[in-house]
Amino acid sequence: MLTNNKNTLVRWILSGILVVFASPFFFTTAEAADCSDAFYIDETLPNGARWDMCWESRNREGITFSAVYFTPKNGVRRMVLNHAAVAQIHVPYDDNGTRFHDVSDLGIGGLNMLDLDPDECPGGTMLLLTDAQFTNKKVMCKQIEKRNVGFKSGNNTEAAYSFSLFSVSPVGAYYYIPTWRFMDDGSIEPWMGATGALQRFGTDQSQGWLLGDDRVGVSHLHNFFWKLDFDINNSHLDDVVEEVNFPLVNGKRQRSITAFNSEAARKVNPDTMRHWRIRDKTAKNSNNHSISYDIVLNETGHQDIGPASEPFTHNDFYVTRQNNNEKFASHNTSGGANLAEFVNGESLQNNDLVVWAGVTFYHMPRSEDAPHMDAHWSHMQIIARDLSASNSLGNQTSNSAPTIVTPSKQNSDRNTSPRLTIQANDSDGDYLLYSATGLPNGLNIDTSTGQISGTVTNIGDYQVVVSVSDGEDSSTTSFSWKVTESTDTGSSGGGGSFPIEWLVLLSLFTIIRKRLYSTQS
């Protein structure tokens, strides 16, 4: 353990030095990273992927992260996010009885963040907060998560790992569980769980649901917002944000990529399967492809365009220029009042960019929500694109081609049903597909098993070419297959009545043929 801590410290010092040298402007951004050991997370997952970052606790946003770095297994350590935080939980009720702005107005940090009990963090470790307010408060649970099948191609499979960090914040009757999941491929998933109990009850069933206890739970929305200050590869002035659409043009999808030159507010569009991408203008992976992140907002099925007085709900995705005063998606106290005002035409070119993204959960209460309510979860995806040059999770560095065994020369009688299974092997364990050409009429190959079967119908000499592919590489071989007139002239047709003398003669014939054939070749 001591060694690990030392390593951590050394790594931290080194990374600090690297940061200073790599980016002279780094500390000029407002939310620059500078954290002590107690606020430093350095996690190398069992498969070698590594994340490191600083965290802090704020009264409003709760736990926030800064200087978030990802290092692929055997890869280069690069900054992804300079800063990441929950930016709002906006909860308007269907009866308009209240419209909460939980993060800005009430706060999910400070006294509104729980001191967790160890049983709430099974298999994980607790991160302790000591500051002016608290001493060794167990505010955050870190858990390593394993998924048995991280990728799979037949038996070519590896587990995938991530680690999650969560805290729990009661706000009124609600208990929010902001969770950040850091994946081994460099992707990040911010999640939000909402549990506790229903906050409001009414009398009008048309604005809620009659519960088993005869109360009417009022229906409501949770608009969750995250603020993501990307500084890919440290340099905070050379990121670009693009919108990617796949419009349908004459029966084909024609991908279009449009860079935002000035601040923008945008919505998802299922018809064009829109997503957004943050790309570093200079950094490339070893394939010479720009390293970037996709922002995918799949969980927009409950998307809600609110009233004119809440213009920050009118879009799903915003990109703005970094401004220290812009903290909350709504009810922002200094600077603009909300996201719609943050987007005010400022140029994004060669500036520090901030992405704001939101998803919505519409909650119509049900009887199961009382006396306490099971968690419902929402999330968005921040997916690494071309950060690594290849899948870095497995042990193999390149694909191995499958090998194929050349079958011996085949002989069949017409109207018989021979079976031959092509033998192939793949050292990666990949799923293999077989194909064959030149088979005697009536025979087919099972593309999954490599078994050739059927009933031969035409006499002749056939040259068969069989191939096996693992999807990337293939092997091919050939052999001959001779179909002769049936030697069984009897009427039974069954193998049982086949005279033994004929079999002996036939096998002798085959041996002679084989010798002839091998001397020829």
Partner: protein, 375 residues
């Protein structure tokens, strides 16, 4: 009532072949049980799925559930494919699983091969409330995998302790298709080949059979319609009495629940399951003008020969789900819900090769199954 007389229902007395039952009892006393089988086309099919809430009666949720078609469209317009009927998720394409893939779980065999992983695992908080009132929960997970032309589809069902069902497809394997059209793919690997981007439309077939009588289910459509100033919403619930095709409607928050006509919870509320359909951003309506791509949800009366959402072969039936919606009664009958979930893949360097799994999930949630939270 001619419609009622002619209505069909899944046989209510289906028996599960021995060795094919799956059941899990959680520490709270909540239970799930079901039957599984393998078909050449759909692969693993679940049937007679029952949930027993803690301390409450065991009741059926689903009569049968399957992935009834995967329709793949390539962005470059090259030939699309119907994977379930053209290739099949079962047969030799259904993958043999090994112990590593099912660590902590139990492999189940079909026809001598281990093809299904059954695994029970911790699932974090069920709820957290004040005064340290809290509970951690578990889930039962089942998955199989099918490889079609090097792409691998992991079909997973999760049955949570609190009655929630999560189902989804995880896409992995190898994306082998390349194109010369740079706007229809993404440049990947050191060779700078253009991997073709594509959309998979997953069509789920969910034959709800709520409680003991499978012929008396009712579909309710629930909307919350915003006022003109968008400050309030008004709930509008209506029974769907004839077959329906419908699309996502975020503005109206439209969803459906399937309820039993007679059985209730202890507060005399109809017991039901609702569909929580959140995946919306890629829910495109296809590259072609096929009617079965134009809607997201289809609600039909059970018909034994309506098996595949598209390329349904039976001559007595429609060819696809848009034809299954032909005016039949859906009020107090055996209800089948067809749900189309679209997932677009733009390959990236990290996908080569094989590609890390990308999941496309949906949720079925009990609504008034019990009169209060039982955990």
């Amino acid at each position: 009532m001619l419609a009622a007389n002619t209505s069909q229902a899944r046989p209510n007395n289906a028996t599960c072949p021995s060795g094919n039952t799956i059941s899990e009892t959680f520490s709270s006393g909540a239970e799930w049980d079901m039957c599984w089988e393998v078909r050449d086309e759909e692969g693993v099919v679940l049937s007679d799925v029952h949930y027993k809430a803690a301390g409450k009666p065991r009741r059926r949720v689903l009569g049968e559930a399957s992935l009834s078609q995967i329709y793949t469209e390539y962005d470059d317009g090259s030939a699309s494919q119907f994977l379930v009927t053209d290739f099949g998720l079962g047969g030799s394409r259904l993958q043999t699983l090994n112990a590593d893939m099912c660590e902590g779980g139990q492999l189940r065999s079909d026809d001598g091969r281990n093809v299904l992983c059954e695994i029970t695992s911790a699932n974090g908080y069920i709820y957290r409330y004040r005064d340290n009132e809290r509970r951690q929960g578990s889930k039962l997970e089942l998955f199989s995998a099918s490889n079609i032309n090097f792409r691998e589809f992991i079909i997973r069902w999760s049955f949570l302790e609190n009655g929630t069902i999560e189902a989804g497809v995880g896409l992995s394997g190898k994306f082998t298709k390349t194109t010369s059209d740079s706007s229809a793919g993404w440049t990947v690997t050191a060779q700078n080949k253009i991997a073709t981007s594509f959309t998979d439309h997953y069509f789920w077939r969910l034959d709800f059979d709520i409680a003991s009588d499978n012929g008396n289910d009712i579909v309710e459509q629930i909307m919350s319609v915003p006022s003109s100033d968008r400050l309030t919403k008004t709930r509008q619930s209506q029974t769907i009495s004839t077959e329906l095709s419908a699309s996502f409607d975020p503005d109206g928050k439209k969803f459906w629940r399937i309820l039993d006509q007679s059985e209730t919870n202890t507060s005399n509320q109809a017991i039901s399951y609702e569909m929580v359909l959140l995946n919306y951003a890629q829910q495109n309506k296809g590259n072609s003008s096929y009617p079965w791509l134009k809607s997201d949800v289809f609600i039909t009366q059970y018909n034994a020969c309506e098996r595949f959402a598209v390329r349904n072969p039976a001559s007595a039936c429609g060819e696809n789900v848009s034809e299954f919606v032909n005016g039949e009664n859906t009020n107090a009958t055996d209800i089948v819900v067809w749900y189309r979930l679209a997932h677009h893949t733009l390959p990236r360097d990290e996908d080569f090769s094989p590609a890390p799994v990308q999941w496309s999930n949906f949720i079925l949630l009990p609504r008034d199954w019990t009169s209060s939270n039982t955990l």
